[in-house]
Amino acid sequence: MSNSSIYKDVLMDHYRNPRNRGDLSEADIVRRGSNPRCGDDIDVGVNFDAETLAKVMFRGRGCSVCLASASMMTETVSGKSKTDAHQLVAAMRNWFTAEGATADDRPADNLAALDAVRGHSARKRCVMLAWEALDEALEIE
């Protein structure tokens, strides 16, 4: 596997052993992210403790990038405040879109494995799917 491969060990680990994947029936709010272009379909559920994201879970189907990113997302935002989580989504969006963004612009260190995906514009929507669903769940204007 070449060095520029997007299939870094950390990503594969999240794909094979997704964190916080499971039943969303107890969630306070569930939002769906779907990409008919490739059939990715993810539900993100959040339990709030006042302004804090106490528990963030997901379920659904998608490619390895989509599922790993969802898994990483749940890890990254759990325990964060709504505002911080919202800002993290914005930072993710920026990391994957802004001209001249670099590996150093990653919103959190545990997302480093996604850096290899950034060069692949076709996968951007796979990466962002769970994050955008989360953003909707936060219901911040």
């Binding site: 997007i6 299939y7 594969m12 008919p36 272009r37 490739c38 990715d40 490619c63 990038v65």
Partner: protein, 411 residues
């Protein structure tokens, strides 16, 4: 695993003609030909030569350079028309197969489609041959009907009751499915439709240049295709129409060159093909398009087609030997063009495509602009390998190796 090519066709000279592939060598196995083909030198040179020697407005100037440009443009039209067995003036240059279809939908069918009429498509149509008709049916209160598929991906022509009814105004279907590779029995459909006065529009984006296509033999009403899928340039396509249909058809684009007389309230169009070519003509790409036809002729389309068929059979057989693979469409390459869609169980097609790509194997993963077909198959996407005359068995072998790798990584 290296096997000596088993057929008589030698793909090496074809490959040598295509600079992108010749330069990439073994680092690239280009198997995304159904999306777009690579370009031979003859096509690239025709375009640069145009800009270096012939560039001038077409049908507008009186000086030699302009007169010559006009003649080159019309010669290109003749080359294209002859290639599909059409009269020269019935070949309209468009921007793409997509535009050609939209022209027929807006300019010919829209004014004559009434509430209760039917448009028939097939389950395997590309969005380009689905969305324009869907929108038209919604606007005009007509019904969109679908010819469904048999288990092997061929058209189920037994169970499409009403196909040739008087209320059917158009049957629009592809000659070759860009997902299943299936070749449809057009002559039968055109003949039956003609008997009922029903117009047939053929999406030949995947067939022209790859197999013999003759509009007179097919006796279709309209036929569309794109240059870039047959070794020609981006940005140009074609529309063929029967004379009567072209006379009935209104232009999609209004502008310079297509009008004879303009008055305050109304205007008089030129006759076809001029009526349908508003704006400055795309001379360079018309010359590149004709160069592609000449290149195909020079390399013998029949021999190239036979080579692609053998390669497709080899790919089908090799894929079938994998574990946990699903192949879509008929298993016999004679029934299809050089397009093979498949899925590996439990590996998302995007991962298949990405892993193959990381190993230099360029295949496509997605719905291939065929969501209605995907929905019917109950899947979101497939991986797809598609072949051209410059491919050979090494490319198939590399594909199979990359699929082993995908299964190893994702399994």
């Amino acid at each position: 695993m290296k096997i000596k090519p088993f057929d008589v066709f030698d793909s090496a000279p074809v490959l040598a003609d295509v600079p992108l592939l010749a330069a990439a060598g073994e680092s690239l196995h280009y198997l995304d030909n159904a999306a777009t083909t690579q370009k031979p030198n003859a096509v690239i040179d025709a375009i640069s030569d145009c800009y270096r020697q012939h560039n001038a407005p077409v049908h507008r100037g009186l000086y030699d350079l302009a007169e010559n440009a006009s003649q080159l443009y019309e010669t290109a039209r003749r080359t294209l028309a002859k290639f599909i067995g059409a009269a020269s003036d019935q070949l309209i240059f468009t921007r793409s197969a997509t535009e050609s279809i939209n022209m027929v939908a807006q300019g010919w069918l829209r004014p004559r489609l009434n509430k209760g009429d039917q448009i028939w498509l097939t389950r395997m149509e590309h969005h380009a041959n689905y969305l324009p008709w869907q929108a038209l049916c919604r606007d005009n209160g007509a019904r969109l009907r679908i010819i469904e598929l048999n288990q092997d991906g061929t058209l189920d022509l037994e169970n499409c009751t009403g196909l040739y009814d008087a209320s059917t105004k158009l049957i629009a279907l592809t000659q070759v499915s860009n997902v299943l590779g299936v070749i449809n029995p057009l002559k039968e459909i055109c003949a039956k439709a003609a008997g009922q006065g029903i117009a047939v529009m053929i999406d030949a984006a995947q067939s022209v240049g790859h197999m013999p296509v003759d509009v007179t033999e097919l006796d279709c009403d309209f036929l569309v295709f794109s240059a870039h899928k047959m070794f020609g340039p981006n940005g140009i396509g074609a529309l063929y129409g029967k004379a009567e249909r072209l006379n009935q058809m209104e232009p999609l684009l209004l502008g310079g060159g297509m009008v004879d007389h303009v008055s305050q309230c109304d205007s008089i169009w030129m006759p076809y093909p001029t009526k349908f070519e508003a704006g400055s003509q795309n001379l360079a790409d018309a010359l590149g398009f004709a160069a592609a036809v000449n290149w195909i002729r020079q390399h013998d389309m029949h021999a190239m087609h036979a080579h692609v068929t053998e390669l497709t059979q080899y790919a089908l057989d090799s894929l079938a030997k994998l574990n946990n693979v699903e192949i879509y469409g008929p298993r016999d390459a004679e029934q299809r063009a050089g397009i093979v869609s498949f899925n590996l169980t439990d590996v998302h097609p995007h991962d298949v495509g990405q892993i193959a790509g990381e190993r230099g194997v360029a295949i496509r993963a997605g719905h291939h602009c065929c969501q209605p077909l995907m929905q019917q198959l109950g899947i979101a996407a497939t991986a797809r390998a598609s072949f051209a005359p410059y491919n050979n068995r090494n490319d198939v072998d590399a594909l199979i190796e990359s699929l082993h790798a995908a299964q190893a990584l994702m399994g």
